[in-house]
Amino acid sequence: MITLSQRLKRRNENDNTPVPRAPIRDRLLVKEAQEMSQLLPASCSVHYPNENDLSKFTLIVQPTEGYWEGGTFRFDINVTEEYNMVPPIVKCSTKLWHPNISESGDVCLSLLRRHSVDSMGWSPIRRLNDVVWGLHALFTDLLNFEDPLNVEAADQFRHSKEEFKLKVMEYVTSYAKE
């Protein structure tokens, strides 16, 4: 069986020309940024620090229901030059109590995983819109806390929803008010 990776291996031995990725990313971004802003969830907004650079923006999520209701959560999204072969880099800059987001801002979302053994990780058919809805879902849907980033928060969620809720509110009041 001929696989593409074998062919590539052979080809790469003779051809090591570095190929610039940025123009591809920028072309994709023009379409995707527009699509994203048109389909944004009601509780989300997007801000570009530099209007001429579509690759860096902040997503602000303000949940209107659920545990994190009333908070304002900021995600810094960086679409690197290798996009869309790799997912954007997402960092949560608002401290919060969440099983899938560490207190230092790392986000655990299968979609954002660059290398994944299952079919849940990044795929170049994904778009910014999927990323935004994925992050939005971290505050709404029933979540899978099987593989948490914040183990303590996940344990608490499992054992006492009341305590969890209090801790979430405490964090919201201290860190996530506008």
Binding site: M1, V19, L28, N84, M85, S123
Partner: protein
């Protein structure tokens, strides 16, 4: 429309079984037209990776067309065993990190290449 008629028939039969009496059919089929359609046996004609038609040059080749300094091959289409098609250029980049079809996640192997 055809489905609707079939469903009505089914209901009638059920009623007949239950009540053991003949009811007039609500619908009778007087005329029907067979409709056929065809399409190429590939599932998509847009490359899901760069979102450009597979028959056109990929986004990457389009971007580089002006500075064609090194001998660049034509932008060809590649079909996987799963029948999904992409630009060869786009797919080559993707399989470097994950040898699966981005659309169906099956192990990627080439069925054929060409235009």
């Amino acid at each position: 429309m055809f489905t609707k008629v079939a469903m009505a028939d089914e209901n009638d039969n059920e009623r007949m079984d239950g009540d053991n009496q003949k009811l007039e059919k609500m619908f009778t089929l007087k005329k029907w037209n067979a409709v056929a359609m065809w399409s190429w046996d590939v599932e998509c004609d847009t490359c899901a990776i760069c979102r450009v038609q597979v028959m056109d040059a990929c986004l990457r080749c389009q971007a580089e067309s002006k500075k064609d300094s090194y001998g660049k091959q034509d932008c060809v289409v590649v079909w996987g065993e799963c029948n999904h098609s992409f630009h060869y250029c786009c797919m080559s980049l993707w399989v470097k990190q994950n040898n699966r079809c981005p659309l169906c996640q099956q192990e990627w192997s080439i069925q054929r290449m060409g235009k």
